[in-house]
């Protein structure tokens, strides 16, 4: 799983403006999918949290998973990140079936998948720079691996981490303790950490659910800008339909563990929403969806 090969994320992000123009979301099915869900089923006792879910995610796509709480969004994401395993069916990243991973191969797989969490999951007592450097851990080899145990990093890794923080606009916070930052800033540190990790796919578990609308927008803008510039694939659960509409190329609507909608945001009309949610969900407090619309 050589996700590091032949791609320089930092270069791609630095040249973001050009990349934005050239890297269009890939929607054609002729490209082999990054993620394949093949009748993925997850049981909790007698309940089917995921019920034979089949779908594909293509390179460079931004997929939003929407649905009521308890619909299986988080379970699906946890199965994708292999925090939990399937009861039946398969999830493949490229050609690799994640069920067969363990030990070293699982760690290599994780290095290629960047995770963003609702609660940020940064080490709160460490400095911002250390949290970003955590993203480099799986890439270290030889002496650098051992030195990292004492939180010592080569200058080249520190410089890379600083560039990542620069991309999310938090260079002035580098030496602060992470728990002194606001929620929105912490989530941007988490994005910088993923930049440092240089993965192929980003999985987001409600990345903006604990943020206010303005910070949520800032985080989603940052995430989108970076993902598009580097051609990264993003799969994220989003509790607000407006976010999904504004940022996603493709939306999976989950209801009772089944995918009841799989299409472009433009196809998501009120009837479809009713099918997913059992009601038409309210808009965000800043009712104006245009505010959310992509500026890119």
């Amino acid at each position: 799983m050589a996700c590091r090969a032949s791609r320089n994320l930092h270069g791609a992000v630095t040249g973001g403006q050009h990349a934005l123009a050239t890297v269009a979301p890939v929607m054609t099915t002729s490209v082999s999918p990054v993620i394949t869900l093949d009748r993925a089923t997850r049981m909790f006792g007698a309940t089917r949290a995921l019920d034979a879910v089949s779908a594909t995610v293509h390179p460079g796509q931004f997929v939003a998973i929407i649905g009521r709480s308890g619909a299986g969004k988080t379970t699906l994401l946890r199965c994708l990140s292999r925090a939990t395993s399937l009861s039946a069916g398969a999830i493949r990243f490229g050609d690799t079936d994640v069920a067969g991973l363990g030990g070293r191969t699982l760690r290599e797989h994780r290095a290629c998948v960047g995770m963003i969490y609702q609660q940020f999951n940064l080490v709160r007592r460490l400095r911002v720079i250390d949290n970003v450097l955590i993203g480099r851990l799986a890439r270290l080899s030889g002496w650098a691996r051992w030195a990292a145990l004492a939180r010592r990093f080569d200058a080249i890794d520190v410089e890379a981490a600083l560039r990542c923080l620069d991309h999310v606009g938090l260079l002035e916070r580098v030496w602060q303790r992470t728990d002194t930052l606001s929620g929105g800033e912490q989530q941007r540190v988490a994005i910088a950490k993923i930049l440092a990790q240089d993965p192929r796919v980003i999985l987001g578990d409600e990345p903006v659910a604990s943020l206010d609308v303005l910070n949520g927008r800032l985080v989603m803008d940052t995430l989108c800008r970076i993902a598009r510039a580097a051609g990264l694939t993003v799969v994220a659960t989003l509790h607000h339909v407006d976010y999904a509409r504004a940022y996603a190329d493709r939306i999976f609507g989950l209801r009772a563990g089944r995918i009841v909608f799989n299409g472009a945001p433009s196809e998501l009309d009120d009837a479809r929403l009713f099918e997913i949610f059992g009601e038409v969900p309210q808009s965000l407090p800043v009712a104006d969806v245009d505010v959310l619309a992509r500026t890119a």
């Binding site: 960047g114 999951n121 709160r124 007592r125 955590i134």
Partner: protein, 244 residues
Amino acid sequence: MATLGLALVFGAAARVIELRPLELLHDAGNIGVFLRGYLHPSFAHLSEYAWQCVITVCIALWGTLLGAGIAVPLGLLGARNLAPHPVVYFAARRLMDLLRAVNEFVFALMFVTAVGLGPFAGMLALGIHTGGVLGKLLSETIESIDPGQVEGVAAVGAGRLHVISFGVVPQVMPNFLSYILLRFESDIRSASVIGMVGGGGIGFYLWDTIRAFNDREAATVILLIVLMVMAVDVVSSRIRRLAI
């Protein structure tokens, strides 16, 4: 009913320990004689006793260090959320129980036979017992950490040691340091009496002067121990406040 039960238990216990409060009054004269000696401490051997206090502090310092050294691996292996296997968890937990269950004096008696009389035996005894106590405290601190922060490190594909260094250590360090300092204060008190069983330090002189009814000397020794314990408590609580 419960009150009656408690009264019965305490009454029976009083019989067992031969509780005779009236003898305190009856022997008041004897106690007076004792007190007279203790109220006039002798300063003839002060420098010798002071040096023994230094030795006592050194025993406690190294004992605590050894204890912390034992506690780190045992605490990591004995934490449910980090143990590589339930068998390892069980073994580490039981070993820590054993180290804690056996009093440092019993360990001191063993080490005196093994390495001879003196501070080294005392330090080993303190260290081993402290290792059990600190190990248990550490493992319980580790079990109560925020799993999300650990997950955030493991999710980048980091190895087990990196996960511990970045995800676990920063979360447990403040508590662990505070426990080490608390244990150091406790080890000072233990070290000041461990000399009674041949473990070196001021305890031997305490034992010797009391047994010889050398009340004035004993008073000096006790006075020095009290001063030493107070000084160490003050210093260690200062450090604790600084560190956290």
